[in-house]
Subunit: 294 residues, 2 copies
């Protein structure tokens, strides 16, 4: 990875970490709830969604104060979805990024409520942001609820569960991931460009970009599950192979999955060119996400 | 109950039922998710919160189109909280209102996601309401997230869980219920009066009213658990006595709890007088809630 990108990612990770922590610390709430929320927020992760939001914004504008609340809200919603996903009734994961999952570190009831709290608080944060106009808040909240709710991420999670029991086609697999992962990516890209006052045409091109980028995320996840280094990934490799779940490598073979990924990368970059974003960090991030090793 | 109030409740229940169903039916989402959301929405309930919102609005204004989205959002959030509350990791209830709970009718994963979906969708509904100004939407979303999130209902649920293990004082019990039940009541009363353009003074008086009304809800629940008819309540009576949970009758005795309730009723009515609402349905509803038998 080139040094400019490394610095870029590090800087933006620091920014989002400071903001996330600040917003949770300023809550006057029961200690156990706060600790549980902070535990999963601090568990880190790559902060890819907020970074994408920042990068999308920076393609068109520069006053960072406008995007912090959306970036925080987005990462909180991503974090809540991981907490609920890990629950025994869902994926039943004991570890995430090498640390006990929320319900293991606390208990299931607390984990459910910490997830509910992060989800709900995310909307309050945007509604309270004094750097935004009312119209902007409404647009962001509408988009965030739409992409994370039943028509978006939550719908994708239901389809993903069903797909564990019944093999799906490539088209169905793309649809699952477009909802489960892609919709929050779409929010990230949209929110940044919208707040940066990008034109309607550019927003439309970025919408296509986000669709392919979401699929790149997922196909690379599937590829890493076959070829990756478990120490880097923070979970065991090969877990997809041991269950019935449909993945890109299972449907297309490993080489086919890599080819498919390269296809998505091409389409994503074409969309970036249409959005006048060929020299933006979005371009670099596309390569970064498609080549990441964890 | 007098006939005017019966008609009032029936009419408003019909209105909210039609709106709730309409909003869920218009979603293009996986069938299983939609069925699970509808199942708990249709499980009925008394719709006390939306009715309260309507009554608060009608105290000051009359164009009903402005309050429907808030009433729907509020009932969806209440419904999500029941779905998550009933989960095995939380209260572990198999039945609610005489019907299998959501995770019994579907499965735990679906129930968790249906709850998440209802919660998220509620914010989308308000943000999409073309009858409201952007400023109004932001105010409602801020208040709804604040009253239902970590500083409100979810915080109350954590405290309530902790109180099952450790006896609490009357003051602590009031605080738990003010958060767990009272905050959504506060939203109902506030949203209605706010959209009805009530003055700041009146909003402040109604805030006090809502606080006591929330406590009336809960103390009456506790009293019914001791004295109620299980066929009417739809769950077994005496369940509070069989666990360690603190209740008003346990802390004060049954007579003491009834006296405490009458105290709250007096304070609630005084607040209504200050809000120029002594001839409103809010007054009748206060008596109705304090005397309900299920």
């Amino acid at each position: 990875m080139n040094e400019a990108l490394t610095n870029y990612l590090d800087n933006h990770r620091r920014t989002i970490q400071v903001e996330l922590t600040k917003y949770i610390h300023e809550l006057s709430i029961p200690e156990q709830l706060k600790e549980s929320m902070l535990y999963s927020i601090d568990a880190g992760g790559k902060r890819l969604r907020p970074i994408l939001l920042f990068a999308s914004y920076e393609t068109y504008a520069s006053d960072f104060s406008k995007v912090l609340s959306s970036a925080v809200a987005l990462e909180m919603i991503h974090t809540y979805s991981l907490i609920h996903d890990d629950l025994p009734a869902m994926d039943n994961d004991d570890f995430r990024r090498g640390m006990p999952t929320n319900h293991k570190a606390f208990d299931e009831a607390t984990a459910i409520l910490a997830g509910d709290a992060l989800l709900t608080y995310s909307f309050e944060i945007i509604s309270n942001d004094s750097n935004l106009e009312a119209e902007q808040k409404v647009e962001l909240i509408k988009m965030l609820a739409n992409t994370s709710g039943p028509s978006g991420m939550v719908g994708g999670q239901i389809l993903d569960m069903q797909a564990e029991l019944n093999p799906v086609s490539l088209e169905e697999l793309e649809n699952i991931h477009a909802l489960k992962t892609g919709e929050l990516v779409r929010f990230a890209v949209y929110a940044g460009a919208y707040l940066g006052n990008a034109s309607k045409d550019k927003l439309q091109a970025l919408n296509d970009f986000a669709y392919y980028l979401g699929l790149i995320f997922q196909v690379q996840d599937d590829i890493l599950d076959v070829t990756g280094d478990s120490a880097k990934i923070g979970k065991s490799v090969g877990s997809d192979e041991n269950n019935q779940k449909s993945t890109f490598p299972k449907l297309l073979g490993l080489d086919g999955a890599i080819e498919q990924k390269n296809n998505y990368v091409k389409k994503a970059k074409n969309a970036l060119i249409l959005a006048d974003a060929e020299n933006s960090y979005l371009m670099m991030l596309t390569d970064h996400f498609s080549q990441r090793d964890h």
